[in-house]
């Protein structure tokens, strides 16, 4: 009898001790979960900072990161929105995607006072703007710059600190810096630009087109890239490949990553590339010792000095809040997370680790950054580039238009069509696309 009572008492005490432990999770406040769609952690510091946010909010908010390669993000967004999926609260975006998916994004004009937006670089807002509204927060800006290998310049008898300023100077350097081996094969190309399908080809054409004073569409939205300025731009690229033979036609199959690899392997003397090229050319894991410390960065050379000294494109990106987040009632929390993830501290970290330029104007005037031997050339090139046109073509049917133009550009560069005919075919295709079904 006593032993039975003792056993009963023990059970009651054990239950009183165990029950709170088991029941506590049921009664504890569940964290607000925010789901972010972006590339993986290797691309920049945003993942790390998003994961830190849970600690910062004392567990009130938890961030789930949905990692996807660049191309996969667009596919994921298209599928999700078409299916009415609500699993994405925040997504990485750029001008093309914002123009395609703005109907599914939450406008944030009323959250973000214009005076705060005024502290950003002028082109920083383009990737998150569409249809007259702002749909997200800029994350970083990046431009296309001109890179050159100073040691190769010196070996060829050029001043290593004087990169080409004009097309003629580029051609002179390019031809001299292209070398062949005893078997007649090229061992070093003078110049490289990515011309792969899927955006590099169009980006390359855009850069030359803007330096020629042209544009893809006019103010009425009609294609104008097949005018004399477009022809001039395409001719410039064509001649580098076929007339001066200092750029490899094989660049038609090389994207940005492969082009950086070739440059960082010391096989190309000059290239045009995004800002990420700067970080990679200093990285011992990605560049040879002959390249590290021997790379210069500056603005793109002029095509016609009477038009403009330079022009470039930007690849600025941002984060957008989806309408799904608003429907779930977490749009306010998403906005706070975005402010945290795009703070000046994070922007600085992205700059130092990946060469992504900050969208905040104030950082460009920071004296410490200006003195930094690693960052100051990149900052100076960005400030200089900002004095000239910095543009990027985006449109609601961007994917289709891009493919139509790139197909004809590649036909022209492969000598399958005369240059003007290729441009005219592309313009006709774009007109047809813009007209709609």
């Amino acid at each position: 009898m006593r032993s039975r009572r003792l056993a009963q008492l023990t059970l009651v005490v054990a239950g009183l001790l165990v029950f709170p432990m088991l029941a506590a999770p049921l009664f504890a406040q569940q964290p607000i979960v925010l789901r972010v769609l972006d590339e993986g952690p290797e691309v920049g510091p945003w993942y790390k900072n998003a994961m830190e946010y849970e600690r910062v909010t004392n567990g009130r908010v938890r961030v789930e990161w949905i990692a996807s390669p660049w191309d996969g993000i667009q596919t994921r967004l298209a599928t999700s929105f078409a299916a009415g999926d609500t699993s994405i609260d925040i997504t990485k975006t750029w001008g093309g995607w914002t123009n395609e998916f703005w109907l599914f994004f939450q406008a944030i004009d009323d959250r973000w006072p214009p005076i705060q937006r005024g502290t950003l670089l002028p082109y920083a807002l383009q990737p998150v703007s569409a249809a007259g509204h702002i749909y997200g927060v800029p994350r970083h800006v990046t431009l296309y710059y001109f890179y050159w290998n100073k040691r190769m310049f010196q070996d060829a008898g050029f001043d290593p600190n004087k990169p080409p300023q004009t097309y003629d100077e580029l051609v002179a350097a390019c031809t001299k810096l292209t070398k062949t081996g005893p078997d007649g094969r090229v061992t070093q190309w003078g110049y490289a630009e990515s011309m792969d399908a899927g955006s590099p080809m169009l980006n390359t054409f855009e850069r030359w087109l803007y330096r020629a004073g042209g544009d893809i569409l006019d103010a009425r939205g009609a294609p104008v890239f097949n005018d004399r300025r477009g022809l001039r731009a395409l001719q410039a690229i064509y001649d580098l490949v076929h007339k001066y033979k200092c750029m490899d036609i094989g660049q038609l199959q090389l994207g940005n990553g492969a082009t950086r690899q070739v440059f960082n392997a010391g096989r190309v003397a000059m290239m045009s590339m995004w800002g990420s090229g700067w970080a990679e050319s200093q990285d011992p894991n990605r560049a040879t010792k002959d390249v590290i410390g021997n790379v210069g960065i500056t603005i793109l050379p002029a095509l016609d000095l009477s038009v403009t000294r330079s022009a470039t494109i930007h690849g600025s990106e941002g984060y957008a809040i989806t309408k799904a987040a608003a429907r779930r009632g977490v749009a306010d929390e998403a906005w706070k997370l975005l402010q945290y993830m795009t703070s000046r501290t994070v922007q600085l970290e992205a700059l130092r680790t990946r060469g992504y330029m900050p969208s905040s104007l104030a950082l460009y005037n920071d004296p410490q950054l200006k003195r930094d031997p690693y960052l100051s050339p990149l900052l100076a090139a960005t400030v200089e580039a900002g004095k000239y046109p910095v543009k990027r073509f985006v449109w609601s049917n961007y994917g289709r238009i891009q493919d139509a133009i790139e197909t004809e550009l590649q036909n022209a560069l492969r000598d399958r069509k005369p240059l003007q005919a290729a441009l005219d075919s592309a313009a006709a295709a774009v007109t047809h696309i813009l007209k709609g079904p």
């Binding site: 395609e100 094969r185 792969d196 899927g198 490899d248 036609i249 094989g250 199959q253 049917n397």
Partner: protein
């Protein structure tokens, strides 16, 4: 067992009906899964193919307009042509090489087992790995393929494989990957032929070519047909290789139908038209699959005989 009054004529029928229900009941879970995973998306795609379904506009029923557009769309017809060339080129190459390799592996030689195992290596690679590997091999100027051929004295200048020979480059990369499977199928077929037939032919004075023509090839007809259909279905499916190696370029020269479907739906956000293209390709593959099942049954019968 049966209620009283049930005639003798009915009893066997009742017994037969009860026996046939059992397999269906056992198969039901698998069939339900198949319907859910395969049938539901198929029906959904068929429905979408009858709509104007763009992401930025409300969906609208348009009947067979997407299919009519498919027949008149120059880009789609171009894709069909490129697909036909790719499929014909790769399937022919695969079958010829599979036969040659199988005949070699059929012979006795030291290390045959090791060689048979090594032949399987390409098949074991993931399609993505295969695509990345060949992209590296084909790299212009500084790629290993150009380098090796130059050192062997075959090339005097670097070749831009993907730019100048896009479809053959794609075929080569594809054939390398898929060759092991038909090789094994054909090898299994060869090993199923009774050796007595060859001995008798040899006694009668028939040479290698006549033995192949009058014994091997006729007896291998079903297996060959099986491999052919298998390869046709697989070649029509090609996607990862195109995405990684060429993105459908240069200038759309490798825009096979499967990749065109992906671009239409997920890049151009024209889901209705993309679904119509996908459904057309699926129907074609379904027809081939039916031929495959018939050929498979015939091959099994041939082996039994």
């Amino acid at each position: 067992m049966y209620p009283a009054g049930v005639s003798d004529i009915l009893r066997p029928r009742l017994t037969r009906r009860r026996l046939h229900t059992t397999p269906l009941v056992l198969l039901a879970p698998a069939l339900m899964l198949l319907v859910a995973v395969g049938g539901y998306p198929l029906v959904g795609a068929a429905r979408i193919s009858l709509l104007q379904f763009r992401i930025n506009a409300p969906e609208r029923f348009i009947g067979l307009a997407n299919y009519a557009r498919l027949l008149a769309d120059p880009q789609t017809l171009d894709s069909l042509g490129i697909t036909a060339v790719f499929v014909a080129g790769s399937v022919t190459t695969v079958l010829i090489l599979a036969y040659l390799i199988s005949l070699l592996l059929y012979q006795e030689f030291p290390g045959r087992s090791l060689v048979r195992t090594m032949v399987m290596i390409p098949w074991a690679l993931a399609p993505v790995v295969n695509g990345i590997m060949w992209r590296s091999l084909y790299a212009p100027n500084f790629g290993p393929l150009n380098d090796a051929l130059a050192r062997l004295g075959v090339l005097t200048h670097s070749v831009n494989w993907v730019v100048d020979y896009p479809v053959p480059s794609l075929i080569l990369a594809y054939v390398w990957k898929v060759l092991p499977l038909p090789t094994l199928v054909i090898l299994a077929g060869l090993e199923g032929i009774p050796p007595d037939l060859y001995e008798a032919a040899h006694v009668d004075g028939a040479g290698s070519f006549r033995r192949f023509r009058h014994i091997t090839f006729p007896l291998m007809r079903s297996v060959t047909l099986l491999s052919l259909i298998l390869m046709l279905v697989d070649a029509l499916h090609v996607f990862a290789l195109v995405d990684l190696l060429t993105h459908g370029g240069p200038a759309g020269r490798t825009l096979v139908l499967n990749y065109s479907i992906f671009r239409t739906a997920f890049r151009y956000l024209d889901f209705g038209y993309g679904a119509a293209m996908a459904f057309t390709l699926t129907s074609l593959i379904l027809v081939l699959a039916i031929f495959y099942l018939r050929a498979s049954a015939e091959a099994a019968l041939a082996i039994e005989r």
